[in-house]
Symmetry: C4
Subunit: 209 residues, 4 copies
């Protein structure tokens, strides 16, 4: 009975992971549809084409940002999924809700790129990041309470995972606050935070566990 149970739970986790990978892959790729080719009729020289490509710059940056953000949350969700021994219905729904906001990320990012000086665009973008963080945090707390994590997941590891989310969200919130002065300050800080999470190897030991 125990073995069978584990097998079923394992399959559920596998399918949750597969659904997540699918949603992430699509959300990551979707913004490329916004990189529209320049119209043939308007291009008469290399210089025209070059200018047309330069005009695509902001959309390309939006694409990069979206990819970066989604990459960060994909790594974050994956770390959690790897720590689960099994899933239950509630955990599945918490992650489906998480995926909802994953799939909206391209919209939020494009909104920010299109209206870069507008606070509402910035706050929408930040709200999206905030909700993603909250879902991951709540999902983890629930998994701990319902004892769905692997037996070797010590309090220390759990605290590290939670601390990481809280710290990142505190930084994002501070970045968003800077929009009182200028949205550019906010964006600059948020991008720095994101690059830091993508590149910085500080917490790698956690992944090594």
């Amino acid at each position: 009975m125990g073995a069978l149970y584990n097998l079923m739970a394992g399959q559920s986790l596998e399918r949750l992971a597969a659904l997540s990978d699918g949603v992430f892959a699509i959300a990551m790729t979707l913004l490329v549809l916004d990189l529209r080719l320049p119209e043939t009729g308007k291009i008469h020289s290399e210089h025209d084409l070059w200018r047309a490509l330069v005009l695509l710059g902001p959309r390309f940056i939006a694409y990069l940002m979206s990819f970066l953000t989604l990459g960060i949350f994909w790594v974050g969700q994956q770390t959690q999924l790897n720590r689960f021994a099994r899933a239950d219905r509630n955990l599945a729904w918490l992650h489906i809700a998480f995926l909802l906001f994953v799939s909206i990320m391209p919209f939020s990012t494009a909104l920010l790129a299109g209206f870069i000086t507008y606070r509402i665009a910035l706050l929408t973008y930040w709200l999206n990041i905030l909700i993603l963080g909250v879902m991951l945090f709540v999902g983890w707390r629930y998994a701990r309470r319902a004892e769905l994590t692997k037996p070797d997941t010590t309090e220390q590891i759990s605290a590290a995972i939670e601390r990481r989310i809280v710290r990142a969200q505190a930084l994002y919130a501070f970045g968003a606050l800077l929009c009182v002065f200028s949205t550019y300050w906010s964006i600059a800080l948020i991008v720095v935070i994101q690059l830091n999470y993508a590149i910085a190897p500080r917490i790698r030991p956690l992944y090594r566990l």
Copy 2:
């Protein structure tokens, strides 16, 4: 021979699950393309942008509804797939037909959101949900008759799975019927039913088996 057989059957189930996860992931994400950015030329102040975002409200709600509905049926299908010991060609086709109506769900939902006071829109949406339920029910019945379910799937479990589908569909049908009075009543009831299935933990023991 037996081991090999199991391996092959297992792979088939795995691929059916992978195809399903792919179709669900795409169907869930597709409606985000309907969340079009406001046109830059029309936005001159924070207030304009705020109003433009508010106007996107109905599409966003359609997105939420679609995600919710697809989440419910993803969980439902997954529960069945986890109970199968192997697949055969007929079962594969029943699930491919199921996926057909999964992938049409974004259309039905957008139709309802766009024509919220029209009975035909509501009945189309309900028909889609009904067919999804029927496919899952027929698929399960077939799997039982063809003895494709795992040996520990007792009559009790099987009855619970069928009862769950029938009960949900009865509620949906009642909700759809309310459109005789007003489509708003129908929608309100359907959303309540859906939220109930997504959130309510009543039948969790079934998933625990």
Copy 3:
């Protein structure tokens, strides 16, 4: 060494299957984007909406046909993949070429649905089906010659798989030929053949092996 080898080969097959499932899932879902909502401004009554939905009929049928065709080839490819013990580079490329024509299927089907009385549309559609069949046939032959199939894949099984492809393609070719008289005859026969392959349980024993 042997065990490691098998593991690696297995992973390759797994990834080929995953890529295939992804391409199939997207190709199957893509045509739903052609089911455009009626414009709100033109709909003033239930009757208007009903007529608008009826006008979507042909696109919906194209969607059904595309799903059916892709379902058939998905089952066909899966049967082969399940019979492979390992993959090599050539087999991978044969299947990548197969996937190319899988992903073009929605275009061919929409072309046929949009220009149902045109022989060129019908022949394009048939050509797509033909190439899919040829790729599967060549892929299987290659796998046999390069000894990539599982050791228990007898000559009998192999012949059955090849015969199935040849027979289906002969029927499709005959159907396409009927366009000399009328494209409607062709389409009717092709749909009958497809439904037969989707529903008919004649060769199920093969899948049971």
Copy 4:
């Protein structure tokens, strides 16, 4: 502890592979959306439809090229992933960056197909291929230094993998250089190189290892 560690690492690799397969599948399929159906109103005879299809030729070739290029890099990435014993955060990020440029490939290819006589279009396309090659090379070097590859990955195998990337990129760079004379020369050479990598069985023994 060791066993658990391997399990976790394995799951990470699996999810990285799943995300990659998803992104590749979408990128490969996305260009089909550019194959727009001819407008019904403009087609009055078989001849009109034939001409409309011929006009789609360049887009179809772009589709083929994109599929071919992505197929090559999919096989390349898969070979590496199969050689990894485990993943870490840095490796994951190197591959996420790789996927970013995978998902941009449809844009680069469409740009080239649309502006086939423009050097900037050709150089953009080449730049995309170059970055994909660089990411794979850097990813492999990192995996070797961080000892993430399987223990039986000899220096010889590693050198062969690196040599393959460098040689291909040298050829691509030479092809791109030819645009000094004519972009057609460049494209012809690049397509020949690509077909060679897709079809030529020279280095198959490596995949056999």
